[in-house]
Amino acid sequence: MPDFYGTHVPSRLMLGTAQYPSPAILAEAFRRSGAGIATVSLRRETAGGKAGNAFRELVGALGVHVLPNTAGCHSAREAVTTAQMAREMFGTDWIKLEVIGHADTLQPDPFGLVEAARILAADGFKVFPYTTEDGILAERLLEAGCEVLMPWGAPIGTGLGLNNVYGLRTLRAQFPDVPMVIDAGLGLPSHAAHAMELGFDAVLLNTAVAKAGDPAMMAEGFARAIEAGHLGLEADPMPPRDMAAPSTPMFGMGLLS
């Protein structure tokens, strides 16, 4: 099971908390998935603070690690301020760092991401950067103090799966000892299984579960796929080949034609 900044997490599934049909379905999705980490955010509060308190209680009852995000931030400064507010609000120095470069693609801004990661790591944050599969950017993030990388599978909310398998495989091979989480873009359990087969340590998803017709069932589906994919990796898969090779022995075959 993955180890993030010295914290052992008992699941390879990290689950978002947004877009569920109801709080009860959210809780059921977490229960059936066995997810070990829940991502959360900070948003404007109305007088009284009832919404924030209710959500805090809901997440607290899940019994999982909380990973606040900086979703929606488009500059390093905005992300740093959000992270500082989240640290106080959630009482954790973990931060899922998002610095978005473009509103339509939700592609990370690599320059702002590294800048914010450097500031936050120096301030004691344990940064989980939402990044791309770019190896040079990964190197810069590690230099900035990140000890976990979270490359995207596909743009947030698309459900397209692993868009650049070659790039992800190369990134995994380039930094074999860095815990890596496929964050965003997954739509089906098979996508998560594929991520595991490529050697990634965990996956982070939200929309694929929350927007399924039966979110709790989909959450369990992802959990099983993650286990299957990881077992496949550990079992040392056969090498692929182009030409067919019969599995049934030819020796001893009767002459019947």
Binding site: V40, S41, L42, G48, G52, N53, N69, T81, M89, N206
Partner: protein, 65 residues
């Protein structure tokens, strides 16, 4: 004085951030604050003076991916 609170203009009597949060109705709610795009820890609210036109953001936990 007139300040912006979560993007809306508000008239407040309070001079400090701590008093403003209370006056605005947040009471004992657990919230995080920023003034003019800079984080102000809860422990520093009492010593943080507000000025005309300040931009105050009051945030709390929400769903996130």
């Amino acid at each position: 004085m007139k300040i912006m609170v979560n993007g809306e203009p508000r008239e407040i009597a309070a001079a400090t951030l701590k008093d403003a949060v209370s006056e605005l109705g947040y009471g004992e709610a657990k919230v995080a604050t920023a003034v003019n795009e800079s984080f102000v820890p809860a422990t520093a609210r009492g010593a943080t003076m507000l000025a005309e036109g300040d931009r105050l953001e009051i945030l709390a936990p929400r769903q996130g991916g």
